[in-house]
C-alpha cells in the first residue's frame, strides 16, 4: 500500500491507524454539526446550540495528544464553515472553538483526577458561548447587546454541557469495550 508509507513519511510520522481515527473524528464532528442545524433549539433565544460537535472534541482530548486534538477542532471548524456556514458563523465558531479547546485542555490538565468528561464539557460549553458573546460584542460594537445574551447562553450552556459530557462518557464505555482506542 503505497499511500500508507507516503503518509508515514510525510512530515511527522502519523501511524495509519491514528490518521484514519483522526479523519473519522473530523467526519463524525462534521455530521454532528449538520444534525445540530436540523434541531431548531434557537426559536426564542438566538445562538443557543446543543454543541454536539463538542462530544468529539471531548473524546479526542482523552484519546489524542493536545496538538492532534487542536488539529481536529480546526479542520472541523474550517470544513463546517465551507459546507454549511457563512463568513460570520465561521468567526463565531473559530472564536468559540479555540477558546473552549484551550479551556478544556487546561481543565483536564489541572484537575485530571477530580474531573470527568461532564465537567470538561461544561467548561467547553461555557467558553464556547463566551467566545461567541465576545465576537457578538465586537461585531455590533455594543456592550449592552452582548450583555443581554450572555446569561441566557451561559445557563443553557450548562445544560447542554452536561448532556454532551454524559454522551461522551457513554461513548467512552463502548470504545473501551471494543478496545477501539486506548484512552490516555
Amino acid at each position: 500500500m503505497p499511500y500508507q508509507t507516503d503518509a508515514q513519511n510525510f512530515g511527522k510520522p502519523y501511524s495509519p491507524k491514528k490518521l484514519v481515527l483522526m479523519a473519522l473524528f473530523v467526519a463524525v464532528a462534521l455530521v454532528l454539526s449538520y444534525i445540530e442545524r436540523l434541531i431548531p433549539l434557537n426559536f426564542a433565544i438566538p445562538g443557543v446550540k446543543l454543541g454536539l460537535a463538542n462530544v468529539v472534541t471531548c473524546i479526542a482530548l482523552y484519546t489524542f495528544r493536545p496538538k492532534d486534538t487542536l488539529l481536529i477542532v480546526l479542520v472541523r471548524i474550517f470544513l463546517v464553515g465551507i459546507f454549511i456556514g457563512s463568513a460570520t458563523s465561521f468567526l463565531y465558531s473559530f472564536a468559540g472553538g479555540t477558546l473552549s479547546f484551550i479551556g478544556m485542555l487546561i481543565t483536564l490538565r489541572l484537575l485530571k483526577k477530580y474531573v470527568s468528561a461532564i465537567g470538561v464539557s461544561v467548561v467547553g460549553a461555557f467558553l464556547h458561548n463566551l467566545g461567541q458573546v465576545i465576537v457578538l460584542g465586537i461585531i455590533t460594537s455594543s456592550l449592552s447587546v452582548a450583555l443581554t445574551y450572555f446569561p441566557i447562553l451561559i445557563l443553557t450552556g450548562v445544560i447542554t454541557g452536561v448532556v454532551v459530557g454524559s454522551s461522551a462518557l457513554l461513548v467512552f464505555r463502548y470504545m473501551k469495550h471494543f478496545k477501539l482506542i486506548q484512552t490516555r
Binding site: 477530580y114 461585531i139 450548562v158
Partner: protein, 121 residues
Amino acid sequence: MRKADIGIIILVVIIGIAGWSYTLTQTFQSGGTAHIYVDGDLYTSVNLDENQTVEVITEAGSNTLEVKDGYIDMISATCRDQLCVHMKHINKQGESIVCLPFRVHVEIEADQEVEVDAISN
C-alpha cells in the same frame, strides 16, 4: 460525575446568575427612540410613538422592521436563518434585536427630545 464536575457546574451557574441579575438591575423604561445600526454604525433612528415600517437595505440583503403601538419588531429579513424574525418585539430601553448575518442591530435608547421638552415645560 466527580467532585470537580459539580464544582464547575455550580461556578458556571453562579456566573450566569450574576450576569442575569446584572441585566435585571438595569431599570428598563419603555418608549424612547430605536436606533438601527449596520455594522456598528448608526443607520437610522425611529420614534417608537409613530406606527411605521422601516426597510434596512444593505449589500447583504434587506430587513423590514415594523413599529406598532410602541413596539418595534423585525417582521421579515432575507437572511437564511431568520433568527431575528423569530425574536420578540421590544419596547424597553436597553433591549435589542440582532440580525447576525447582515450585522444589523436595533437598540432602544432614551429619547433625548423628551428631556428637552421636560426642561422647557
